[in-house]
């Protein structure tokens, strides 16, 4: 594999599998071990995975999102798709061997995708590849909030919630909320309300280096949710920030043009 322009020798690989994919994970491990690579299998995400030369995820996009939740410095991820519409994966169960082979022979590059940090009162509480969502904690009860970009208020509304999405996330939760599809290589952050009780509003898309801040209206707490995986309560008065993480996600290059993959995924969820 080629990372930062240099070919890197593969010594040990972590294989993470979704509960129903143990059989496939074993095949992957056997395949790698036959090539003299040390393999460790993980059922649950782990910070240990940072130490491996690369990670194989056996599951869907959700499995990759889970893995990333526990990782800062991210080894390259190779995803084998067992889910519905994988956009982060690199192979199907039928063809993972040939794809892995080219990685091992050093002919595949890695690429980085920005992640978002959610920082509350100066402590990072989440890092997300798709989106940080500030959501009502009580179904059918609106939360009110003001949103600032570089200290300029761009929105003040009551809604079910507010999404802050990466370009990669524009085909995830953001797709449900009226946001646009964003080229995954366009360095930017999407800001999209979820079911706002307001006549006039727009999704916003700002630069990756924007400093985004949320102020909850005084009457009600909310949940900060990362990639639909982890959630923490946030409270009126909290200083809630969403900014680019210094720890991007790292993937092997997609075997298919990314715009083509997105166009294909959109057809599948029509």
């Amino acid at each position: 594999m080629i990372a930062d322009g240099k070919v890197k020798k593969i010594r040990k690989v972590g294989v993470v599998y979704k509960y129903d994919s143990l059989g496939l994970a074993r095949k992957v491990s056997a395949f790698l071990e036959e090539r003299g690579i040390e393999v460790e299998q993980f059922h649950l995400p782990s910070t240990e995975l940072e130490k491996y030369d690369f990670i194989v995820s056996v599951g869907g996009d959700g499995t990759i999102l889970q893995i990333l939740q526990d990782i800062e410095r991210c080894p390259p991820i190779f995803g084998i798709n067992k889910g519905r519409v994988g956009i982060l994966t690199h192979a199907e169960p039928e063809n993972f061997k040939e794809r892995l082979e080219v990685i091992l022979t050093g002919e595949v590059r890695v690429e980085k995708f920005m992640r978002l940090d959610c920082i509350v009162n100066d402590s990072r509480i989440h890092t997300a590849l798709n989106e940080i969502a500030i959501l009502t904690s009580e179904p059918a009860r609106l939360i009110g909030m003001r949103v600032f970009v570089n200290d300029v208020e761009i929105e003040d509304m009551r809604a079910d919630g507010m999404l802050f999405s990466t370009p990669i996330g524009s085909t995830a939760y953001a797709l449900s909320t009226g946001g646009p599809i964003v080229d995954p290589y366009l360095p930017s952050i999407l800001i999209i309300p979820i079911a706002p009780f307001k006549l006039g509003w727009k999704p916003w898309i700002v630069r990756r280096d924007s400093s985004i801040r949320v102020e909850l209206h005084p009457e009600r707490k909310a949940l900060a949710v990362a990639d639909g995986q982890k959630m923490k309560e946030v409270f009126p008065g909290d200083r809630i920030e969403v900014v680019e993480s210094k720890y991007p996600a790292v993937f092997f290059e997609s075997p298919v043009n990314r715009i083509a993959r997105i166009a294909d995924r959109l057809k599948k969820i029509s």
Copy 2:
């Protein structure tokens, strides 16, 4: 007041007030008692209110929605607005006396607005003036469902939820979800997904006598919420129906043309 075309003598009135409006409620009660009417004050909604000649609500639209939750046969409601954008109310604190006066002198008609029943496994669990919402019970987790109108499947999707709204409700939660504004006198039911994870979808608007049915996908339970007030869990396999209630809500005629009120309300939430 004129109900069903007949002038009706007023003998006893229930006054329901929101926690912060006791002072105004006392003024209303005194005003009515001076005219020989028996008045009872309620802080909380009660089925007892069915027995009164009419009801005065001192609060916002939310107070009226709460009152209706506990009432089947609905006496005419007169709303004094202490909320943000009352669309169901008839007077402001400044002018309630003159408006009540015309009611007492028999010159005001009453009007009925359809409500929706939510029926689960043949038992009615909710009646709503604005909307029945089938919502995810876990923030940031989609629920899947199929929706049938007169046994024809019109939608099969995963979403944050699905709304079934009356015309009156089209300026409430339904407004947040991409639904149209519906003339409150058009007998119809709106069906609108909330943040659907699907590229192509549309709000639907069907006749009031439509039989609507929801089937949850097998993987996850949901919440059935009436007017954002009451919620119950519903489960995959449940037979969930939404139909017109045989108990409409009854209000005194609006002093302002209803289309004009809606246009005005829309400006306020721009």
Copy 3:
């Protein structure tokens, strides 16, 4: 066939065909003539068609829309679909004989769908089954207008145009503009702006008996277009009204549930 509850004897039928469907039209005519019915073939729409017992349209929905442009009192229409996604048609070229047979034997009812009149300065200029559109006459130049329902202003905006659609029309041009799908049997009129230069707006749906009026801003004329077929210029100062026509369109009953047809059509244009 059964019209207004009475079985009616068929004596003469008009067959209207789209330019590329003459062959099929001849087969239809032969089929009817074999059963002793007098048949006249029309290539172009004609007011003459009012005099026939029923009309067979050989083409797509567009052919039916054209036929209706020239007809006030509408004989029942039977559509044979040669277009993309017929929602107004009753048969395909493969099965028209059996469908026509049941009409001739008197076992099919007719149904009526509301049309809209566009009245300018008290003269009717258009009647439309799908929609009346008030459009800019210059591409990329906005027109400004105010819209009134029963003399209440509900909208004042600049836009590419404004649509006034029947329920049947909700799957035609109205679908392109953010409007909802409306049950074809819900007596109502949709009002939807086309590309409005305004942050906050909503489609409206009002009762069939509403009196709708448009006032153009003084700076620019517009086009009034009926069903995408006929257009006339309208000018600032003109009194432009859209109301239910007293001449509904008449069709044989659809062989398929109409909600099911719409759901099917939506899938085809996903």
Copy 4:
């Protein structure tokens, strides 16, 4: 003024005025001439303007868009707002003197905004600051087209048209069509259909260096319109491309934060 990091001496300035702003234009010219600057007044846009040290536009955003139509190498533009909601202008008639003064003293920087070229069969036919629109040339008649990004088909639909917008243009025509608001400094291109006859679709936002291509369906020609100002016919079979222009627009720095200006503009068009 400071261009490309260097302070530049001002010798001659072009003043362009909208037809109703001659009086103000004369005041501007007098103000500059008093400071020893050579001034030429223009009523109509002209390629001559390329030769001036900077340009003063007296009018609205539309005046600036017109000026830019005729200019490749763009001197810095200073806009005095006589229009509705100027987002490109720098001063109001009341305060233009103090703003011009700081330019003349060399304390104001210039900034560049990307423009889009529309290239047909390898010839540039338009350059636009806001958007290139491919529109139907016949009101109420759809055009069909396929859209490619870097030779990947992302859309195939029939619609009133398709917009290709810069970030600056996201508050212009693109705002009417369901597009997001884009940070004017995010180097990107928006692709948004206008009234598409299709159930599922999304606005796209791609990188500035994307190569965008449009193929018209065979049945109908269209119009290519730049900034609502200039239009040319395009035909099925034409090779229609939209790419970043090598000639950006140049403005003096906005006296107000650009995100704040946009948020303000959105409030004005609510």
